[in-house]
């Protein structure tokens, strides 16, 4: 004798019609979405003059440049390049740190569970939004005009642009914190400051630290780009060598940047695990 339950398909079909015969609209939803996405892609390619012939002609040029890059060779400029790379790393590190230090207190003001009143929170959020709306590159151009060419403008550009980004990310991390832990502090007689210091910060700091580490890594790339427009660092050297068609130096510089980014990635990974690990924080 079988121990399996007896199944009557007809009975079940009658009882749950939406499972067995879903309405035509829900069956067509996925194909319709795919068709729409494809249509947008085709329209975009046509509108932006996507041309296979130009690409094929260009590939030859690309191959030529790649050949010119071999072997990578800094010539006699290695000390200058190393100094420039150090400058780029310092711009990224200083800019990100400044952004984080200033964003933390402001992000508290933008968090719903710290400032319940929308009237006070709204202007802070819009302020962060408008700063974030302007890209790092634009901030670099602005600061170069204010404080002149050089790494100082780069630090300011990254600090300001990421202040906006951090403000939003931190406040979201704070809003995601477990309120029960904060309530435990309040119920024991802690003040609002205690609630932030002991209830929120232990929960939020590991998240924030992870975000800051990631931004340092990504800002190493940003610092290269803003270097090209004149904010100092290795980007400036890179732009210069592309302009004078010194492709061997260009490839060497690109390799230096790759190695630096990989090293920072590795270090920040180690640090992140150390921070979110098992140790108690305070």
């Amino acid at each position: 004798m079988s121990r399996r339950p007896h199944i009557e398909p007809e009975e079940l079909r009658k009882r749950y019609p939406q499972v067995f015969d879903p309405p035509i609209t829900s069956r067509l939803a996925t194909p319709a979405m795919l068709a729409a996405a494809l249509a947008i892609l085709v329209f975009g390619l046509v509108d932006l003059d996507f041309s296979v012939s130009r690409l094929i002609n260009g590939v030859g040029q690309l191959g030529w440049i790649s050949l010119m890059m071999l072997p990578p060779d800094p010539g006699s400029s290695l000390p200058i390049y190393l100094k420039a790379l150090g400058e780029t790393l310092s711009i990224a590190l200083l800019g990100t740190t400044l952004a984080a230090v200033f964003a933390l207190p402001v992000s508290l003001l933008a968090a719903r569970n710290v400032i319940p009143s929308a009237i006070f929170r709204f202007p802070v959020r819009r302020f962060l939004d408008s700063i974030r709306g302007v890209d790092t590159l634009i901030w670099a151009l602005v600061w170069i005009n204010v404080v002149g060419l050089g790494p100082f403008a780069g630090v300011l550009a990254i600090a300001v642009a990421d202040f906006g980004a951090f403000g939003k990310l931190f406040s979201e991390a704070i809003e995601g914190a477990d309120q029960k832990q904060v309530e435990g502090i309040r119920a024991s007689g802690g003040s609002a400051l205690h609630e932030i210091r002991f209830g929120l910060m232990p929960q939020v700091l590991p998240v924030i630290a992870g975000q800051v580490l990631y931004f340092i890594e990504s800002n190493t790339r940003s610092a290269t780009i803003i270097g090209i427009v004149g904010a100092g660092g290795i980007g400036l050297q890179l732009a210069e060598q592309i302009r004078v068609l010194e492709w061997q130096k260009v490839s060497f510089l690109i390799l230096m940047i790759l190695v630096a980014v990989a090293a920072i990635d590795w270090i920040s990974g180690k640090l992140r695990f150390a921070i979110i690990g098992q140790r108690a924080v305070a």
């Binding site: 339950p5 477990d178 029960k180 832990q181 309530e183 435990g184 502090i185 309040r186 119920a187 024991s188 007689g189 802690g190 003040s191 400051l193 205690h194 210091r197 002991f198 209830g199 232990p202 929960q203 590991p206 098992q278 140790r279 108690a280 924080v281 305070a282």
Partner: protein, 269 residues
């Protein structure tokens, strides 16, 4: 002496606590019983002022708790220590720091914020942990402990607040039977040894009868019973829980259905 007089807590149109009045003499172990949603939690949270009462008054030793603000309010919260169903410890802080949170209202802010804890407070915290066999775990992170251990840390935190009354909100609802006994015994010990009044929400009538010397029954926000556990008749229990009384009292076991019901018929029955 805690006096609750006409206490009402409204959330929107719904009154979670509706015109509750009672007095609690020092040293009692009072259980608050009733179904989920009867207003037990809100009542305790209102006494600690985590919830602001809409109407009525809470007096403690002649002080109007409902009117306290700022520093005085924080000191009242320390005097009326809360214990929560979910423990409400800070998971990433170590056990000792969690217990020291109970001292926040008793020291200047610069000391606590810079974590320069007075030696005396550390000693107080360690001795509280020792009472519940938790001293060896002082350096552990709170979120690495089991539920029963976390609740004992929470009780230690409540104890170092040197409270006049402990408000325990379903302290054992997240625990297994063995830890239930450990935690309830700990509360009883605090009550008997230190003479601290305990006001404890429970939904298990058996536990309430075992540990409490007085029961307050709530239903739909109202106090519908107030008396000794022995005075809680089957009729009142039935009213409180809206159930057949023997299911609540654990008297006669549930009748075993004849044969094994076929799959799918259980829901219909």
């Amino acid at each position: 002496m805690l006096v609750v007089d006409g206490l009402t807590c409204r959330f929107g149109a719904k009154a979670a606590v509706d015109n509750a009045s009672f007095e609690i003499a020092p040293g009692g172990f009072v259980g608050v019983i009733g179904r989920s949603g009867a207003g037990k939690s809100t009542l305790l949270r209102a006494i600690n002022r985590l919830v602001t009462p809409s109407q009525g008054q809470i007096m403690f030793d002649g002080v109007d708790v409902t009117a306290l603000r700022g520093r005085e309010l924080r000191q009242w919260r320390a005097r009326s220590a809360m214990i929560f169903q979910q423990f409400n410890l800070v998971g990433r802080l170590d056990v000792l720091t969690n217990v020291l949170m109970g001292r926040l209202a008793a020291m200047p802010a610069w000391r606590s914020l810079s974590q320069v804890w007075p030696e005396q407070d550390c000693a107080l915290a360690m001795s509280a942990l020792e009472q519940f066999d938790m001293a060896s775990l002082a350096a552990q992170r709170a979120d690495q402990l089991s539920g029963g251990q976390q609740q004992r840390v929470a009780i230690a935190r409540a104890l170092v607040q040197q409270p006049d009354i402990i408000l325990a909100d379903e302290p054992i609802a997240s625990l297994d039977p063995r830890n239930t006994k450990i935690v309830m015994d700990a509360l009883l010990r605090i009550n008997k040894h230190f003479g601290i009044t305990v006001l404890c929400n429970l939904h298990s009538l058996d536990l309430a009868r075992t540990y409490c010397d007085r029961l307050i029954g709530m239903s739909a926000g109202r106090v519908v019973f107030d008396g000794a556990p022995s005075a809680l008749t089957e009729h009142i229990a039935r009213e409180l829980y809206d159930l057949e009384a023997n299911e609540v009292m654990g008297g006669t076991p549930m009748p075993v259905p004849e044969g094994i019901p076929a799959l799918g018929t259980a829901a219909a029955a």
